[in-house]
């Protein structure tokens, strides 16, 4: 079964510059610091491939911020297995697909969260969430990553949940794209 939320259609085609990186779970003992390291590497890689009219400093930062936030979620919520990052750049559009595995309970909670997220204006919801986090001493601060991407970076985001056998959990593909300038 496949369930989609948000924008899950890729714009970049076969002519795009593409790059695929797999973070293998076992030998790497995947952990938090891989997020920053990986996102900085991909940001640097594509900022050097940007054409005229794109500010490489802004491109490097925006790509790195976007990948870092989505990878942080992937590392935080993953249910074993590798994390695969597909990235591409064509003209001014940078796109990623990050694939990881989560358990069914996490998938269900995340889907509820996404439904609420996609119904609202992200800038408004961002401020609302910040105020809620400030009031709640137990808040983990999570939930701002996707909202800052949508509100501050005008990123387009989408999620696809694929499940076949319950024992294998759910394969989550996160789609994100940025218009570089």
């Amino acid at each position: 079964m496949v369930e989609d939320f948000g924008e899950t259609t890729a714009v970049n085609g076969g002519d795009a510059r593409q790059f695929c990186l797999t973070l293998n779970a076992e030998p790497l003992e995947l952990s938090w610091h891989h997020c920053g390291l990986t996102s900085d590497f991909i940001g640097e890689y594509f900022s050097r491939a940007c054409g005229k009219g794109i500010d490489p400093v802004d491109a490097r930062h925006s790509i790195s911020y976007m990948i870092n936030e989505i990878l942080e979620n992937a590392i935080k919520f993953r249910h074993g297995g590798d994390v695969v990052i597909h990235s591409s750049l064509e003209d001014q559009t940078f796109e990623i697909r990050i694939v990881n595995r989560i358990d069914q309970e996490t998938a269900t909670k995340f889907q509820v969260h996404l439904k609420a997220l996609l119904e609202r204006e992200p800038g408004e919801l961002l401020l609302e969430r910040i105020e809620e986090n400030a009031l709640n001493p137990d808040s983990t601060g999570s939930g701002l990553g996707l909202l800052t991407l949508m509100s501050d970076y005008e990123a387009k985001l989408g999620w696809s949940f694929t499940s076949e056998r319950v024992s294998e959990g759910v394969e989550l593909t996160t789609y994100a794209s940025l218009r570089l300038s």
Binding site: E69, E72, L127, G145, T148
Partner: protein, 112 residues
């Protein structure tokens, strides 16, 4: 007061709080020692608190939550002013710092 690691440094000079480097900590708990330093400045009830971010190259969304939470704490004390200094050459600051002003319109934001 100062917290210093290989990735970042946060320190105070009077009521000025300086941030430097790359902060990508894993959540509210990980940022708690930094919030403690910031809250100790607020506890002294200065006329003006300056958050100098001009050398903070990268901040993840949990860190943005930290700055926002502190801004809300300052907002509760109208006698304490706040000024945030940012840099145009660090892209996240032009994109995300305006949210602090939306939370607390009296906050003075300078990105130069």
């Amino acid at each position: 007061m100062e917290i210093s690691t290989n990735d970042y440094r946060v320190w105070t000079e009077g009521s000025d709080i300086h941030y430097e480097g790359t902060m990508r900590l894993s959540g509210t708990d990980a940022y708690a020692p930094i919030l403690e330093i910031m809250n100790s400045v607020l506890a002294s009830k200065p006329e003006l608190i300056t958050m100098d971010l001009t050398s903070l190259e990268f901040l993840n969304s949990s860190g943005i939550n930290l700055l926002a939470k502190f801004t809300i704490e300052i907002r509760k004390q109208p006698e304490v002013g706040v000024r945030v200094l940012g840099s145009k050459s660090i892209p996240w600051q032009s994109k995300s710092l305006r949210n602090l002003q939306r939370l607390h319109p009296a906050l003075e934001l300078t990105i130069s």
